[in-house]
């Protein structure tokens, strides 16, 4: 208790760098500058989000496969598209990341050498700036890039890897995979060996041990991983900007453009508020399953 004063710098930090900016965003969202320089209260930002052009909803081939055309506001469509890409990237990260974490944890449990090195290999790319890593993909996948040059050299047809869903998805999975692997690994590695032995003694085969014991025990890690991948995937503008050829608009890009290019701070802040509420709600939903928070994820 005597060391309570040590918390003050963090309180100050939170106030200056988290709470004050959030309040500023909220302030901008509900105000607009008049030509004479005065500031007035407004809902115009939120009206713009639900108003504006109406476009057919672009959801999982709703239009192409089922022939259903549902006209929605432009920004809602972008929101749905961002959500869809973020969800698919998270699922892909889980599909690739869980087995990796499982195998790594098994190696650690069996005290096999080299596991630390393997873990390090997962972490090393994160030591580099995300911008540089993503630029590297650009050089690899460009229409006249390294991959296409190799493909045509061995007589295979060239592919269009960039500026589409594939390119964006690849960029996300590549950038966010470590955030899925590490929390799952850190939970799995703590699973008591004797729990698994007990299950085996009681007659469970390997499949049952996994589905009834290991998987439920690893759920906090999985939830942390989902949290740590889904949130940045939903809000990123760097990846779609670089790998989307400037024509890929996800919600993060729209907000960035509204702030930096259109300079419509009211709409940009209103969009940020909507996104923030959505992100907080989905975090709340996820953290219900993450009581112990053993995965080291974000607390709420």
């Amino acid at each position: 208790m005597k060391l309570r004063w040590m918390a003050y710098p963090y309180v100050l930090w939170t106030v200056v760098f988290t709470i004050a900016p959030l309040l500023l965003v909220a302030w901008f969202a509900f105000t607009t500058m008049q030509p004479d320089g005065s500031t007035v209260f407004t809902f115009s930002g939120f009206e713009k989000i639900v108003g504006g052009d109406r476009v057919p909803l672009d959801l999982l081939g709703l239009q192409k496969i089922f022939g259903i055309t549902l006209d929605v506001p432009l920004y809602l469509n972008i929101f749905v598209k961002s959500l869809q890409i973020a969800l698919l990237s998270t699922l892909a990260c889980l599909a690739f990341g869980y087995p990796a974490a499982y195998l790594l944890a098994r190696r650690t449990a069996n005290r096999r050498g080299g596991t630390d090195l393997l873990l390090l290999l997962f972490v090393i790319p994160m030591w580099m700036n995300a911008l540089l890593r993503t630029y590297a993909w650009l050089a690899l996948l460009e229409p006249n890039g390294i991959v296409n040059t190799v493909l045509s050299a061995v007589g295979l047809p060239r592919g269009q890897f960039l500026y589409n869903d594939f390119g964006i998805g690849l960029g996300m999975v590549y950038n966010y995979l470590p955030f899925m692997v590490l929390p799952i690994y850190s939970v799995l590695v703590k699973v008591d060996r004797s729990v698994i032995e007990a299950a085996e003694d009681l007659g469970a085969d390997r499949r049952h041990v996994f589905t009834r014991v290991t998987l439920p025990l690893s759920m906090p890690g999985v939830m942390s991983g989902i949290n740590m991948v889904f949130m940045p995937a939903m809000t990123t503008f760097l990846i779609p900007n670089l790998l989307g050829g400037g024509r890929y608009m996800l919600i993060g890009n729209v907000i960035e453009r509204q702030y930096m290019i259109a300079r419509d701070w009211t709409t940009a802040s209103a969009l940020s508020i909507v996104l923030l509420v959505f992100v907080l709600a989905s975090m709340k939903f996820l953290t219900r399953y993450e009581k112990g928070n053993e995965g080291g994820g974000v607390l709420l």
Binding site: Y75, P143, G245, V254, R257, A262
Partner: protein, 371 residues
């Protein structure tokens, strides 16, 4: 107009050198010399021009700062005092309208009348004739440029004529899907659509603007362009992009890149359509300048043929200096896209700026980009 975005390193280098120069000036010779503050686009003056000026006029030092958009320039004018600025046409008109420019003594800038192309004064620079007629009394042309079609001669046939429909056709052709470049800049993109449809680049007619917007959305769906600014140049050089919209200076930059890479410069060509945009960047003196006399001396120096030639070669934009044009390499001088013929010149339009234009065009461009 966002033409010049210097690389970050260049910007850092500039800031450092300006700081260093400023320190030198204040410490060593503050008593004898006058320092004028020059606010310019990035990479828009030859590296040795300022040194040459200071050698010719040892009593004047020049400290340069750079900006990357007319709007950025406009916003800093009230809070800082510069002696020479480089606003584009529509920004000069706005500054004249708002009474923010110093009226220079043109007899102190004799090189302007002596060498600069008199045709430029025929362009209408503002919707208000009273303002348009005054622009050339307040500002001196520095460099000019055009907006045209840049294309890869191996992939795209040369336009059949200079009618907008022929020139811009490749940009809307699904044949070149994923290989079209568009500027992520509202005036250029909406302007191309308006020009293609035969409307004015300054149209505020809602039906015409709706048609332009529909055309741009259709282009996004079928021709799938890449949108960017600086990153596009490398893509034309590497043949990733077959055609696109480009400022004449970017075309010249691509030619330089081809030369540097040892490639044939005929790989890339540039074509202008009738009625396309023509822009002039002017040298002007703000009303709050501290040293307008020295600023006039500097402007006159920039208008001397040898200096104008060096700056034009460096920046890639066309010089209005008729004497300097004579010394240009034939490949540039004879290129009618860079130095247009009188017939073409008469069709060109300069962008106007007004609140109606700004808000309507930016709404269109945001919807197209969000589409």
């Amino acid at each position: 107009m966002k033409r010049m975005r210097p690389d970050f390193l260049v910007r850092v280098a500039l800031v450092v050198s300006v700081l260093a120069a400023a320190t030198l000036v204040t410490t060593s010779c503050a008593s004898k010399t006058t320092t004028i503050y020059f606010y310019n686009w990035g990479e828009y003056i030859a590296d040795d021009t300022i040194a040459k000026f200071e050698a010719a006029h040892p009593e004047i030092k020049v400290s340069m700062k750079t900006f990357d958009s007319n709007e950025a320039l406009y916003q800093t004018l009230d809070s800082s005092s510069f002696d020479v600025i480089v606003p584009s046409d529509y920004m000069v008109a706005r500054l004249v309208k708002e009474g923010k420019l110093y009226k220079p003594d043109m007899s102190a800038i004799p090189n302007n009348a002596k060498y600069n192309d008199p045709r430029l004064a025929n362009l209408v620079l503002d919707s208000d004739p009273a303002v348009a007629s005054q622009v050339f009394q307040y500002a001196v042309p520095y460099l000019y440029g055009t907006v045209g079609l840049i294309y890869n001669t191996a992939d795209v046939p040369a336009p059949k004529s200079d009618s907008p429909a022929d020139v811009w056709a490749p940009l809307f052709d699904a044949k070149y899907a994923n290989r079209i470049g568009m500027y992520d800049s509202m005036r250029e993109s909406v302007g191309v659509a308006l020009n293609m449809l035969g409307y004015s680049l300054n149209s505020v007619d809602d039906a015409q603007l709706a048609a332009a917007k529909a055309l741009l959305i259709q282009q996004k769906d079928t021709a799938k362009p890449i949108y960017g600014i600086d990153e596009l140049k490398d893509k034309y050089v590497s043949d990733e992009l077959a055609a696109g919209v480009a400022w004449s200076g970017d075309y010249v930059a691509c030619l330089n890149k081809l030369t540097d890479a040892g490639k044939d410069t005929n790989q890339i060509a540039f074509a202008l359509s009738k009625g396309t945009n023509f822009f002039i960047d002017f040298l002007a003196i703000p009303k709050n300048a501290k040293h307008p006399k020295e600023a006039q001396t500097f402007i006159d120096f920039l208008c001397s043929p040898g200096i104008a030639l060096a700056d034009s070669n460096y920046a890639g934009y066309s010089t209005p200096n008729l004497e300097a044009q004579k010394s240009l390499p034939a490949v540039l001088r004879d290129n009618t896209a860079l130095y247009p013929t009188d017939d073409m010149f008469k069709t060109f339009e300069v962008y106007f700026s007004s609140d109606a234009i700004d808000s309507k065009y930016s709404a269109i461009w945001e919807s197209v980009m969000a589409h």
